[in-house]
């Protein structure tokens, strides 16, 4: 009996709908030799001088109009959202915002959203869907805020609901990981048709320090944990967590905010333009399959994983075609 190994998707193979756009890195071998270690990537991704969401928004989009509030509790400054134009096309933006200074970091809670931040995001996701605005999210957070008030107001519920809403939001979604992609708090903005990341961004299930504290019982083993967790750009390409990397300036994004923003802008225009041509039903189906494919398992029985069922809208559409004289349906 042959073991069947169900592998996780990879950017190069599994996606099938990401054209290799100029300037995007879809294969780690395209990167310069001497690539940074995982720990160096962690440091770069966290660099306070790195361009944060608001700076990127100002350079990439025109006429940004911020929208505030979750309509229930509070406007969370760690999440910034609003409507702007991307090369003349109106889009919705939802982004995590760290501070560029200690003062701003305190105001922004170091980019760690409360539940009401995710709920503001969900409100804007729904608004984007209602008015057919493509959605661009910018991920940059150490994680969702772990304080007791966040627990009381349902941090887990907010993240779960936000992830679920994105899996079925009927508008194109492009995700860009700008810096730190910290666990569920990042994924709550991270479900898209295309997931891009800056070259030195990281995306991980837990912080290296947290992982080290639990598995090595010492936070000082964070560097080792970072390497083991495969959280840096090239690793993310390899596992398919991101579809492509956006090149940073040679010294890192913090050395040239304009050049970084220009690279992001080029990538976003191409991706939004491409996705806007895909019928929404196909987009939702492909989005489902993109995330459905994650996982590496061994199935000793050699059994076939069940084919994902046809999306419900397909089934409804085909069952609605009842006229037997209508041709073209096979």
């Amino acid at each position: 009996m042959l073991d069947r190994i169900v592998r996780t998707r990879r950017a190069g193979e599994g996606n099938g709908h990401l054209a290799i756009e100029a300037g995007l890195v879809t294969d780690a071998t395209q990167l310069a030799a001497g690539r940074p270690t995982a720990w160096q990537a962690v440091q770069t991704a966290r660099n306070i001088a790195r361009p944060h969401a608001v700076e990127i928004i100002g350079r990439v989009f025109d006429r940004f109009q911020e929208l505030h509030g979750d309509r229930a509790f509070r406007d969370d400054p760690a999440i910034v959202g609003g409507i702007a134009e991307l090369a003349g096309r109106p889009v919705m933006i939802v982004a995590q915002q760290k501070g560029a200074s200690t003062e701003e970091n305190i105001q922004r809670n170091f980019g760690m959203p409360y539940p009401e931040g995710y709920r503001k995001g969900m409100r804007l996701y729904r608004l984007a869907e209602k008015f057919h605005l493509p959605l661009v999210t910018l991920v940059d957070t150490p994680g969702a805020y772990p304080g007791p008030e966040a627990e009381e107001r349902g941090q887990a519920e907010a993240i779960a609901s936000s992830i679920q809403l994105m899996t079925r939001l009927a508008t194109p979604i492009v995700v860009v990981v700008l810096g730190e992609g910290g666990s569920g708090g990042a994924l709550a903005l991270g479900v898209g048709d295309v997931v891009l990341a800056l070259e030195n961004a990281t995306y991980s299930v837990i912080s290296p320090e947290g992982c080290a504290a639990i598995l090595w019982r010492s936070a000082s083993e964070a560097e080792r944990a970072a390497a083991a967790m495969k959280l840096a750009g090239p690793d993310l390409l390899e596992t398919g967590v991101v579809d492509a990397l956006i090149r940073e300036p040679a010294g890192g994004a913090h050395t040239d905010h304009d050049a970084t923003a220009a690279a992001i802008k080029t990538a976003l225009i191409a991706q939004v333009e491409r996705l806007a041509r895909v019928p929404i039903a196909d987009l939702l189906s492909l989005r489902y399959e993109r995330f459905r494919a994650f996982g590496t398992i061994v199935e000793p029985s050699g059994g076939q994983a069940p084919a994902p069922p046809r999306p419900w809208w397909r089934r409804i559409l085909s069952s609605a075609i009842r006229n037997p004289t209508a041709g073209g349906e096979s």
């Binding site: 993240i159 569920g184 083991a228 000793p300």
Partner: protein
């Protein structure tokens, strides 16, 4: 009058392979009897943890459970090694629990209602969710969708499995995407939270039940209480992250004692089933 067994004292005449002391009331409980009572203290109602097999026995009608996808196992996508390699940890957990990973899934009936049932096992690497848990839960949801059967998931988990890195994190999106299809199709999903349900499991499928039930005293939260406590540098409120706390704060519908759990789930499934039979509704 019978003397209460003082808390923490474990007399010699109660060998631990036969007796267990209740951490809540101090009573010495005869293991066989405790097991017959589904690991609930007969004296004070304290809920001990219950493994996957015991959970299936508690909820599924006798002999109704047929396990599915029993033999899929985790590979080691990252070649992860901490103090020991990830495959060794899996092997140890398999030996300890007799199961291949931290969730059992299958078809069953609850009070004669056909359902898809998934029960997590905290004994298997802290009930952590990696590729196998994510895949089995997703297949369970997809089967519930295809066969239009309600889905019941009993959670017990410390969160995502770190040894599978970001792939483990992606299981959050994978499972809730499958639940979104159930939701659109109006197929009921009942989520049962048991001690403990935390981290990535609570931040994905476990929070999304049409009905969310929890066992008494279960620890339920996003961040570990240790992390939260360090964040504010002070003591947490009493009952923080316990099931009853979550009812007060609006995230759990009911705290249900284990012995009433099956009947309660059946009530909700029946209500949805009977109401749904009214075809005039389908517009």
């Amino acid at each position: 009058m019978r003397l209460r067994n003082p808390f923490g004292r474990k007399p010699k005449e109660f060998p631990s392979h036969l007796w267990t002391q209740c951490p809540s009331c101090g009573e010495m409980l005869f293991n066989k009897q405790l097991e017959r009572n589904h690991n609930v203290c007969q004296k004070c109602g304290h809920h001990f943890k219950l493994d996957a097999a015991g959970r299936v026995e508690l909820l599924a009608d006798a002999r109704s459970f047929t396990e599915t996808d029993a033999d899929i196992v985790s590979s080691d996508p990252l070649g992860f090694v901490d103090s020991k390699p990830y495959p060794e940890r899996i092997a140890a957990a398999q030996a300890k629990t007799g199961h291949k990973d931290a969730v059992l899934t299958g078809d069953a009936t609850i009070s004669a209602i056909p359902i898809v049932l998934a029960v997590m096992d905290f004994e298997f690497m802290g009930g952590s969710m990696g590729s196998v848990v994510g895949e089995k839960l997703t297949r369970a949801a997809e089967r519930a969708f295809a066969e239009r059967k309600p889905l019941v998931i009993v959670s017990a988990s410390g969160g995502a499995r770190m040894q599978e890195g970001t792939i483990a994190l992606m299981q959050l999106a994978k499972t809730v995407a499958a639940l979104a299809r159930l939701d659109e199709a109006r197929i009921p999903f009942i989520s049962v939270l048991t001690d403990p349900t935390t981290g990535g499991v609570l931040a994905s499928f476990a929070s999304l039940g049409d009905i969310v039930l929890a066992e008494p005293g279960a620890l339920i939260g996003f961040s570990g209480a240790r992390v939260t406590s360090e964040t504010i540098g002070e003591k947490l409120p009493k009952g923080f992250q316990r099931a009853e706390f979550l009812v007060e704060h609006g995230f759990v519908d009911q705290v249900v004692p284990r012995t009433q759990l099956k009947e309660r789930i059946a009530f909700f499934l029946n209500a949805f089933r009977i109401a749904g039979q009214d075809l005039r509704w389908s517009l």
